[in-house]
């Protein structure tokens, strides 16, 4: 196995691992708050579920980038490409946007979702606005996903 492949693996691992960890933390924060609401008002389950699930998307974005990396280096075809160190570094760098932004945005989205869950507890009629607030945090995760994909596409192997 070449050094380039090791760096590419590291990139894929960071994209999936960090974005997934951020999502787990974010969903955990929102879920705890959601449980509090449902203890008193189980009828809010539908809205709480949506708001709790929103911070989970970063984990999927990380998975997409990780999958693209593995496809690019030929893992699924059974014969991995032989990569030079600079190619491996390029892949690692391409994974960083979604790894870093995915991790932090998921945590902060979890907190915003928790705030929105509090909002629907008091004013269920404001559910639409409550969903918009955490969705705004999502923008930055989507932007980082986009850059990661564009950077990966620009790497020639």
């Amino acid at each position: 196995m070449t050094d380039g492949i090791i760096l590419a693996y590291l990139g894929a691992a960071l994209a999936v691992g960090l974005a997934g960890s951020g999502s787990a933390i974010g969903v955990g924060i929102a879920g705890t708050t959601g449980a509090g609401i449902m203890t008193e008002d189980p009828g809010k389950f539908g809205l709480v579920l949506i708001l709790t699930a929103i911070p989970g998307t970063q984990g999927f974005y990380g998975l997409i980038v990780g999958f693209l990396v593995l496809t690019k280096i030929g893992i699924f075809s059974g014969s991995p490409e032989s990569l030079a160190i600079d190619q491996g570094l390029q892949i690692l760098n391409a994974c960083l946007p979604i790894a870093i932004a995915g991790f932090f945005s998921a945590i902060y989205q979890g907190k915003t979702s928790a705030g929105s869950i509090g909002l629907i507890a008091r004013r269920p009629e404001e559910a639409g606005k409550a969903i918009i607030l955490p969705a705004m945090v999502e923008t930055y995760a989507v932007l980082s996903l986009l850059i990661s994909i564009l950077m990966l596409n620009g790497i020639s192997i």
Partner: protein, 342 residues
């Protein structure tokens, strides 16, 4: 509101579950509209009916007798404390909130003992220390089940009473003991909001004590003895201005957070010879302080806010129901009401 926000505000994620539950429970608090309807109702029965119309089970009173209402109110308080106990991630908050009931019970039991009064005692069935344990300690001198600090406090009060025969002095000793124990607990936890809140409470209490002392024409050194420590204004500062004219008190507090309360409260006192406005404004100030809890998703502020909001509701319900019971004029009832939390 910003000045009450500190570095720990909205960062305590362990309170997420509790805050969420509180957000739902807050919906059962009384708003100004309900209070107005109760005040405008023609008699006590209609006021109780207005309250019941909100369909909140704990506010449905089946009878209007004072003893029944009193028991129902104690039940509401007990339930509130029970919920807080259930949702608090740490045990210190229920402990702090219960401390007041412990000291109330000690006061009542000690007075009953000294005055040879028989049961029933107007005590709370809840608190950090079981009522039976307190009775054992106070009536039978059996302190095995009483915390050592409380034991010392009770013994100190008993010795003081034997020496002085002064029941008011016992109250002062216990009030000071309550705040000492409270601040010992606050010093051991990192909750700047709680410290800020209780310091403000002490400041306002000390202003009220100074006014009452003035009415009773107590001297400066006696006032110094009865003022509570631990506030933002040291008792010696308050004692220092005590002998000056009342108008100079307004100037002294002008640059503080309490300037409006002191100014309006003292003006009302001078005009109406009553401290009612000062008390009402003080309570409203503390309630405003707690309203930050409504905007917090991760913090102790929401729970403390809800607890005091519930107490506020109880005060307002009792004020209206007692006003209706004794057919007081609507304006008089209104003057005694506190603002609504919601």
């Amino acid at each position: 509101m910003q000045k009450y926000i500190n570095e720990r505000s909205n960062t305590q994620e362990e309170y997420g579950y509790a805050c969420a539950r509180i957000k739902v429970l807050e919906k059962s608090l009384l708003n100004q509209e309900v209070l107005d309807k109760m005040i405008d109702s023609s008699n006590l029965e209609n006021a109780v009916k207005m309250l019941s119309e909100r369909n909140i089970s704990e506010y449905i009173f089946e009878k209007t007798e004072p003893s029944y209402i009193d028991q129902s109110i104690k039940k509401i308080l007990n339930q509130t404390i029970h919920v807080i106990h259930e949702i608090s991630p740490y045990s210190y908050l229920p402990y702090i909130l219960n401390l007041k009931y412990d000291f109330h019970n000690i006061k009542v039991l000690l007075k009953s003992k000294f005055l040879n009064k028989k049961e029933p005692y107007p005590v709370y069935e809840f608190g950090n220390i079981s009522l039976d344990f307190l009775k054992f300690a106070i009536f039978e001198d059996k302190f095995q089940t009483t915390p050592i600090k409380i034991e010392k406090m009770i013994k100190k009060c008993q010795e003081y009473y034997i020496r002085s025969d002064d029941l008011e002095g016992i109250e002062i000793l216990l009030d000071q003991g309550y705040y000492r124990l409270l601040f010992e607990t606050l010093d051991s936890i990192e909750q700047p909001f709680l410290s800020y809140f209780y310091k403000s409470e002490i400041d306002l209490l000390n202003i009220m004590i100074a006014c009452r002392a003035k009415v009773r024409q107590l001297n400066k050194s006696r006032l110094n003895d009865i003022l509570i420590k631990y506030g933002n204004f040291h008792p010696t500062k308050i004692a220092h201005i005590y002998e000056n004219s009342i108008d100079s008190w307004i100037n002294y507090f002008k640059k503080s957070d309490y300037s409006v309360i002191v100014e309006k409260g003292i003006l009302f006192w001078q005009q109406e010879n009553s401290l009612l406005e000062l008390e009402r404004l003080s309570n409203n100030y503390l309630l405003d302080l707690l309203k930050i809890g409504k905007a917090i998703t991760f913090g102790i502020e929401s729970i403390v806010g809800y607890y005091y909001a519930k107490q506020n509701d109880i005060h307002n319900i009792l004020t209206i129901l007692n006003g209706k019971r004794y057919s007081l004029p609507i304006q008089m009832i209104r003057k005694r009401l506190r603002n609504s939390y919601v």
